[in-house]
Symmetry: C3
Subunit: 319 residues, 3 copies
Amino acid sequence: MRANPQLDENGKLRHFLTIEGLRRPLLTDILDTAESFAGVTERTVKKVPLLRGKTIVNLFFEPSTRTRTTFELAAKRLSADVLNIQASVSATTKGETLLDTLHNLEAMHCDMFVVRHCDSGAAHFMAKHVAPHVAVINAGDGSHAHPTQAMLDMFTIRRHKGEFGALRVAIVGDILHSRVARSQIHALTTLGVNEVRIIAPKTLIPAHAEALGVHVYHDLREGLRDVDVVIMLRLQNERMGSAFLPGEHEYYRLFGLTEEKLALAKPDVTVMHPGPINRGVEIDSAVADGPRSVILQQVSYGIAVRMAIMSMAMHQRGE
Amino acid sequence: MRANPQLDENGKLRHFLTIEGLRRPLLTDILDTAESFAGVTERTVKKVPLLRGKTIVNLFFEPSTRTRTTFELAAKRLSADVLNIQASVSATTKGETLLDTLHNLEAMHCDMFVVRHCDSGAAHFMAKHVAPHVAVINAGDGSHAHPTQAMLDMFTIRRHKGEFGALRVAIVGDILHSRVARSQIHALTTLGVNEVRIIAPKTLIPAHAEALGVHVYHDLREGLRDVDVVIMLRLQNERMGSAFLPGEHEYYRLFGLTEEKLALAKPDVTVMHPGPINRGVEIDSAVADGPRSVILQQVSYGIAVRMAIMSMAMHQRGE
Amino acid sequence: MRANPQLDENGKLRHFLTIEGLRRPLLTDILDTAESFAGVTERTVKKVPLLRGKTIVNLFFEPSTRTRTTFELAAKRLSADVLNIQASVSATTKGETLLDTLHNLEAMHCDMFVVRHCDSGAAHFMAKHVAPHVAVINAGDGSHAHPTQAMLDMFTIRRHKGEFGALRVAIVGDILHSRVARSQIHALTTLGVNEVRIIAPKTLIPAHAEALGVHVYHDLREGLRDVDVVIMLRLQNERMGSAFLPGEHEYYRLFGLTEEKLALAKPDVTVMHPGPINRGVEIDSAVADGPRSVILQQVSYGIAVRMAIMSMAMHQRGE
């Protein structure tokens, strides 16, 4: 059996590439470690010296202010030095290969790469080729995985709903193209939630979705019935009006989350969204800004969860 | 009476949005605090730990290397962590609203926003919506205000001319479109200078300018007579040749500051400019680089003044 | 005799602009100081407090992620504060002169400028005009010089081959347009290597090259015979197919380094390249990734060498 490339010989985190293949105790360990960091980000002096003298590179081949910012803040609050590299202005435009870029940064004694790339598998590819002391964190690769987002979502669910075993969770939107959804599904099933539902038009559901252990719904009202948590996905504007989708107005009518549709879920339902939200496209402002929304808390927890994952991959724990 | 949104219940600085409505003792307090920081920037180790563990976001919706750089340096010399966000590459391009961007950064436990925006009122809008622990500093909003620039100008005047009461100060150039001029006028009148003059072609003077407590001149030679301080404004190239202005050559002939025209002012006149200067457009190089110019000192003082305002808004004073 | 503008009155490094005119003991001193920093970059905590509280500005008028990154890392590992300024987004686009930009940053109490500029002589020009306490490091100016690259190459040669006196070194490629080659030739001859060869098509050799103390070859096989070190230059794609050069395929056939051609050199020959490499243009992947290549070590040493030069120019030595 091939060893999991994310773990070292003792089963500890070495890279963080995908939720798939990680076991429940490790996910729980990440959530517990993040709890200890959640306190740090609320202090007057929001820094711990855990990664002082380490160099962390944000290597982004897709633009993303939001995700890059959360990783940069997490790294700085761990006292690491941070380098931001936008691939569009980097040496790859001079024809250098991804591997050459990687080996060059490694030669500069960088300790960790936080990678976002438009190609599925890019983070795994890098993890396979880095030196033994270097860790790779996947910050989103193609339509494959976005595991730190999934872990901050799990942290949010645990904080707001308690134990996973009794929960019914629905994910709504473009499941087919979403690396976020893919990672959430693996995390939710590994953590043992009672039921995971995915809700989307037929054109936005992957083939053989049931094999992932989820229930598929094509009707939002039906799928929302009695759920504890609903996770809305961002609708990529560029897909709108394509073969996959009707117009924005029609999508909102059928799959946009409104107070009226939300009333079908449990009374204490929690509403989540990875952001940035499209108001009036996949979610109504009244819901996004309403009392059941924890969308901004997700962002907050994102720093603590990323601090946890980064320090664990560098074999440094919190307090 | 509506409370001043820049002040807390004890009358202390909470945000820094505009000079308008601030009282003389507070402006003097800022200048005194800046004096204590002016020493720090000349030390071998130019850092104080006042804002260690705080996160300051430079949120720039207009490009500006110069202003962004002075805020970044001020923040780093206070030992804060700094995030630079250029709005053109930020989530707002994905359709996220300004308020969503703000709330997301706030959720990441950022402590202060330094904002530049092309819309007048943007900084007030943000100050109105941030959480109680977050401060907003206006780094220029539309043609409304640029209060940190005005305060560094006041610091420069006090350093080079002493008390404000006896001074005659002229501001020359495009008063109509200048957020710098607007903030300078409020600062100068609040600090009680003897006379403020504005000098410009009729098309570049705001309607009802006299209501601001200034004297209006349309002839540079006449307006310069016996002034102690002359502040030249940068002429925005994009206005040149428009309905507002004759050509560059004609403007220089009438409103460009030369040694010959400057001879009409007091012999010890001080020449200021917020920069970057247009040599041979609004000011002759002989004047800009001459003995009466304090243009580069303004830049120096800008760091100390911004350190003062940032630390005061975070309720941390200098040594 | 005009004093060397790079040295202070005691002959110590004040700026670092070009290898030309520096004497062997100073170059050796840089290499020895770099040795002490090479250890720092391999520690767990890769930082020394030598330049704490200093502000270093990367002022890049040409884009370069790689070189900018090495200087940024070197500065951060010396505990300095770093400002990155890309000239394309800086005030110079508003018509400010280079000198105005410089004086403004100087007024902000910046301590060192690392400059890259497309014009030969730009770094000298800046060094001539900065204040006495400010140091200028040339990170590449036009086709003139790239002295920190040359010093890291010398460091690499000394580490891998020992003393310079016995060595035969060949530089292969577009010598005519290469600031790297020019600086390497000065460094190699100053450090007293036995023989420096330059190998290139006639169109890519500068006039009067022999006056630099080198032997000129137009045939790669002939020039490689019995060399200890071969330094390949990057071929700028934009020159390909011009009057200077035949097509890519033809260039590779004649001047591309392959295992077969490399067999003509000494058996323990060391292969170097300043990066980024063009695989299959000037160098075959089998050579670039092969056992005689030290291309990635060059990148590593680059950090230590830049730490040495930066700290020496600030009159701070390593441990």
